[in-house]
């Protein structure tokens, strides 16, 4: 069961504009570098569990909730808040605000403290029909509550959480929320809503609105268009926001690495959010003449895999994918014998005849274009290629969690 390409599984070798995969076919160990690009800086949770900024072209190996690390590939996003950390620049309505009061998730003493029943507000132009995500890192001091509110012309959107139990105390007009544990008492809370108006709105954060002595630490506010929060993008005075551009990762490996008439594509990772119906996980040539595509189907939270020979063949759809949970999938392709295994279970098969007229030369991970699907934020723990179709028993063993 020798693979022809393997990326990750705790063995990461990165450099500027490159990311190393390996092949140990026939016990002949050789490096297979991926081209990596991202034209801007970005942040990632490093091995110490701290948010760290990495420069353009540097692949991000993310260690959040994962000691082995995983490749983080995200779409382009903009943090629209002009001041993500300097809350003295926000409108302060009745709060005591103390800057630099405790160690933030980036490991420096730059988190702010808010005390009282009032709120901080940042004013932002919102566009009707857009999904928005407001996220903020917070750490409980004495406050038993945290509340987000979007002050709108029509109905407000709001979310209030118990800081002790993380349970929802109240929610109005929102579509979703999430609370991620960043360690050392820090959480990142995200509130997602679909905006009903094109208007200038006040985005507000409160501690406990019923306790004048309630104290909460805050850091890293972010407002982005989308239906899930992506990695933190710091801002420091840009009224139009700061943009992290998309990551891209691809390779044209030597002959023999990509199985041309049969093979297996293995992926282990996490779907971080769903904005689009189809998102690219691992894809081949950008054509439907001869290629393959392993996609996440957002509308049904399943995986969809296919090959092409002028038309789509061997389509296998299945598995039930929860955002934020690790999945292992393997798509086996061979004319007349296709199968998709997800977390140790065969979820779909196909007996289509597949006659590829040309070759598959390229492999893309989390592709940025929308040729087969679109780009989503996915955490890639391991990618492997095999140039033979493994047995179903091997597929089951490979994907068992």
């Amino acid at each position: 069961m020798a693979n022809t390409l393997k990326l990750g599984n705790g063995k990461w070798a990165t450099g500027k504009d490159t990311l190393m995969s390996f092949s140990d076919t026939n016990n002949n160990f050789k490096p297979l570098p991926f081209d990596f690009s991202r034209a801007s800086s970005a942040t990632v949770v490093n091995q110490s569990g701290l948010i760290e900024t990495v420069g353009s072209g540097e692949p991000r190996i993310d260690f959040k909730d994962n000691t082995k690390g995983a490749l983080l590939l995200e779409p382009q996003r903009t943090n629209s808040f002009p001041y993500s950390e300097d809350f003295t620049q926000w409108t302060n309505s009745g709060l005591t605000l103390n800057s630099n009061q405790t160690i933030s998730p980036d490991g420096t003493n730059n988190a702010s403290e808010i005390i009282g029943t009032g709120y901080l507000q940042e004013v932002i132009s919102l566009t009707t029909s857009n999904d928005y995500v407001f996220s903020l890192f917070w750490k409980k001091n004495t406050s038993n509550k945290i509340k987000f509110l979007v002050s709108s012309t029509g109905n407000d959107e709001a979310l209030e959480i118990d800081t002790n139990t993380l349970s929802v105390l109240s929610q109005v007009g929102i579509d979703n929320y999430s609370i991620d544990n960043y360690g050392n008492g820090w959480y990142r809370m995200s509130m997602i809503w679909n905006e009903n108006n094109t208007e200038v709105s006040g985005i507000r954060v409160f501690a406990d609105t019923t306790d004048a002595l309630s104290s909460l630490y805050i850091y890293g506010a972010q407002l982005e268009v989308g239906s899930y929060a992506t990695s933190y993008i710091p801002t420091s005075g840009q009224s139009g926001g700061v943009t992290r551009v998309a990551d891209a990762c691809s390779q044209t490996p030597p002959d023999g690495v990509i199985g041309q008439t049969e093979g297996v594509i293995y992926w282990e990772g996490i779907i971080n959010g769903i904005d689009v119906n189809f998102s690219n996980i691992v894809t081949g040539e950008k054509n439907t003449t001869t290629s393959f595509a392993v996609l996440h189907k957002g509308s049904s939270s399943q995986f969809q895999c296919s090959v092409f020979d002028g038309s789509e063949k061997g389509r296998c759809i299945g598995g039930s994918v929860s955002v934020g949970e690790t999945c292992k999938i393997a798509y086996a392709y061979k004319s007349g014998n296709f199968a998709l295994y997800v977390n140790g279970v065969s979820v779909a098969t196909s007996t289509d005849t597949w006659t590829p007229p040309s070759t598959i030369d390229d492999i893309y991970i989390g592709d940025t274009t929308s040729y087969f699907g679109n780009k989503e934020s996915n955490t890639h723990k391991e990618v492997k290629l095999y140039n033979t179709r493994l047995s179903n028993a091997e597929l089951q063993a490979l994907t068992t969690i």
Binding site: S37, A39, S40, S41, A42, T53, G55, S56, Q76, T78, T91, S93, Y119, Q121, V123, S125, T127, S151, V200, G202, R204, I233, P234, Q238, S239, G240, G241, V242, T243, R244, V245, A246, A248, T288, T369, S370, Y371, F372
Partner: protein, 120 residues
């Protein structure tokens, strides 16, 4: 990498310029870019911030630009000719006339990329 800042009379004009950079269609008819530039649609940027009363209610509306603004992180670099002369990267065809030359980073930035140091 080069950074450019642009404004157009409206969204439709801006989108036509973006499309001219190169798009293709997948088999479902969805357009996707064939270029590797990063484009941010800033829209009608705020020229004057709104004002608020003590309750956080708006007392004076924001003043927005009548033009539609874009920031672009071009996947372009300066080069040298055979005589070693520097050839500066330039705006793609049709973009220069819409460009804005600022002496600051403006209202928007690409993370970690200084506009003034990377201005096209």
């Amino acid at each position: 990498m080069k950074v450019g800042k642009y404004f157009f009379k409206d969204l439709a004009t801006a989108e036509a310029k973006i499309k001219a950079l190169g798009v293709s269609e997948d088999e479902d008819g969805n357009e996707y870019p064939t270029h590797s530039h990063s484009i941010v649609k800033l829209g009608h940027i705020v020229l004057e911030q709104p004002e608020f009363d003590e309750d956080g209610e708006i007392t004076k509306e924001a003043v927005l630009s009548e033009n539609y603004h874009l920031d672009v992180l071009w996947n372009l670099s300066d080069s040298t000719d055979e005589d070693g002369e520097l050839i500066k990267a330039d705006h793609p065809h049709g973009w220069k006339s819409a460009s804005v030359d600022l002496d600051s980073n403006g209202v928007h930035s690409f993370f970690g990329i200084d506009y003034l140091a990377n201005k096209i």
